[in-house]
């Protein structure tokens, strides 16, 4: 097995984006850092719009529970930023030069992707032809030699080209007239006035007709990819800490979460086991969970039937059921976590098998 690549260093404190009341992480390095250094797993929630996936296929962003965000902020490892407001402010402040520079950068990356894809397609084509025993060079020589058959050979080559080009779009798009005009729309050179008009006006650019390349650009080489940036903090500077939001609001199960987290446990959402948290002694990818934990207020009344049900389900799934909470009379809320040792009490419940 190849060793894991060295992690990119993450500078603390990093930002947690608060969007519509949810705490999200968009950077893969920060997500890995949270898991490695802070025992915070979160849940990946990213999916394709209109084609939502089951939870094993999800990608970034990572959604943090409010408790997880709170723990990270209380540790001084992160701060929460209202991402919508920051985006509005910063993009309004962005100067024209910065904007153009970024657009150029995106175009350059798009061209790189196109070049890479084109060379891949060429390699694939060569390989396929070689397997059929038809060398590409020989075919080209043939076409040059026979003048009479020239049109037919050209057609086959053209068909070959288009099939390779459209293979990335999937078979549905093959043969449709959609791809060809789409290729031609994008101007190869950046026309700054056109971009300005695109950025500033919502109407599609109609006045400056994009310069169309010569007829050779109709092939694969002329197609350009449009790169959609997945992060907004390369174009924007990382928001500073003075716009940080106050501590995330947390449910009253938070003291138990904080207590178990301070003991080095990992947490996952507890919905599947009818509790607040599934508590793992190590990384959930490696260990079976130890507890199905429910955090309660110190004077919050609970039914014994819940204890019986939780205890029975926990034992059936090789866990213990746990209830716990913070005693407000002991220690009080201190800034350091040492208070947790006395103020939070947890009770582990197992079926007695009698």
């Amino acid at each position: 097995m190849a060793p894991a690549p060295a992690p990119n260093p993450v500078t603390e404190p990093f930002t947690i984006s608060c969007i519509a009341g949810r705490y999200l992480l968009f950077d893969v390095d920060i997500i890995a850092h949270c898991r490695r250094a802070h025992n915070i797993c979160g849940v990946l929630v990213g999916t394709i719009p209109n084609l939502s996936q089951q939870n094993v296929f999800l990608g970034i962003p990572l959604e943090l529970m409010p408790e997880e965000a709170r723990v990270l902020v209380e540790r001084g490892a992160a701060y929460v930023v209202d991402d919508a407001a920051v985006h509005q402010n910063r993009f309004m402040e962005m100067s024209r030069e910065e904007r153009l520079k970024f657009m150029e950068d995106m175009d350059r990356r798009g061209e790189e992707v196109t070049r890479e894809q084109h060379s891949q397609a060429e390699r694939r084509k060569d390989r396929a032809l070689k397997e059929k025993g038809l060398r590409r060079e020989t075919m080209e020589r043939q076409s040059e030699d026979s003048v009479a058959d020239g049109t037919a050979t050209d057609e086959t080559l053209q068909a070959d080209d288009s099939s390779v080009a459209s293979s990335d779009l999937g078979f549905i798009m093959k043969g449709s007239s959609f791809s060809d005009p789409w290729v031609q729309i994008k101007a190869p050179k950046i026309d700054s006035s056109a971009i300005e008009s695109i950025l500033l006006e919502p109407t599609p650019a109609s006045s400056p007709e994009p310069t169309v390349r010569s007829s050779t650009s109709k092939g694969v080489a002329g197609q350009k990819h449009f790169v959609t940036p997945t992060t907004s903090y390369p174009p924007l500077p990382t928001p500073s800490q003075d716009v940080a939001l106050p501590l995330p609001a947390v449910p009253n199960s938070y003291p138990l979460f904080r207590y178990l987290h301070s003991k080095g446990y990992f947490h996952m959402p507890g919905l599947r086991f009818g509790c607040h948290y599934n508590v793992y002694p190590g990384d959930p990818l490696r260990y079976h969970s130890h507890f199905a934990a429910t955090g309660l207020g110190w004077d919050h009344e609970f039914d014994l039937l819940d204890v019986v049900g939780g205890g029975r389900l926990g034992t059936g799934t090789k866990k213990a059921y746990m209830i716990g909470g913070e005693d407000p009379d002991v220690g009080g809320r201190g800034d350091d976590n040492s208070h947790d040792e006395e103020s939070v009490r947890a009770f582990s419940i197992e079926w007695a098998a009698i």
Partner: protein, 201 residues
């Protein structure tokens, strides 16, 4: 309507069942007198009866005062000795299995027999509850705060000796939560005071 009432009036008093008598009347007048309500006392006796006759526990007794502070307990608790060990901590289980494996290897090869894991029973605290009760963490913590690690020994010296042997693995307090429903079904759950990893069943 009147006829039903008159029938009820005519009904002969039914003799109480032996269990009913047992649960209702304390065998010896407790020194605490009126510290606990009658229904709490009868609940403790009901659980004691269930353990004694359905699960063959021995050395059962009802505690009304904390062995630590000698204050009255939040409610009467029961203590007793199960026929087999009730709880084996997973770490202790590993040790016991290793020990049993060594003993098996030490035995002659011709002898039959697999792993022989032996555990001595330990005295346990039992907290009697009713299913329709509401509990809070504060009350549960209050019960644990009034208890010792191991229930005080009965008058038999053998039990006291066992208590001394059993202690090294017993690092957190535990209580057997006995919950009785109205149909007299009793379920038992072990409650540990603190974060105790689950057994590997």
């Amino acid at each position: 309507m009147t006829s039903i009432l008159s029938q009820a009036d005519m009904k002969q008093p039914i003799a109480r069942a032996p269990l009913q008598t047992f649960v209702a009347v304390p065998t010896a007048p407790s020194p605490s007198g009126g510290t606990h309500l009658p229904h709490e006392q009868s609940l403790a006796r009901q659980i004691l009866h269930n353990l004694q006759h359905q699960h063959y526990w021995t050395g059962l007794q009802v505690h009304t005062h904390s062995p630590l502070t000698d204050e009255p307990l939040p409610r009467p608790l029961v203590s007793g000795l199960p026929p087999q060990r009730l709880y084996v901590h997973p770490d202790e289980q590993v040790e016991l299995l290793k020990k049993a494996d060594r003993e098996r290897k030490a035995r002659a090869a011709g002898e039959a027999g697999g792993l022989d894991v032996r555990t001595e029973p330990e005295r346990e605290w039992i907290l009697p509850t009713r299913l329709n009760e509401k509990w809070t963490l504060r009350r549960l913590a209050g019960v644990f705060d009034a208890l010792t690690m191991v229930p005080p020994a009965t008058e038999t010296p053998a039990a006291a000796a066992e208590e001394g042997l059993a202690s090294p693995w017993r690092t957190t307090k535990r209580v057997l939560l006995a919950t009785a429903d109205t149909d007299s079904t009793v379920v038992y759950y072990i409650v540990h005071d603190g974060v105790v990893k689950p057994r590997q069943n």
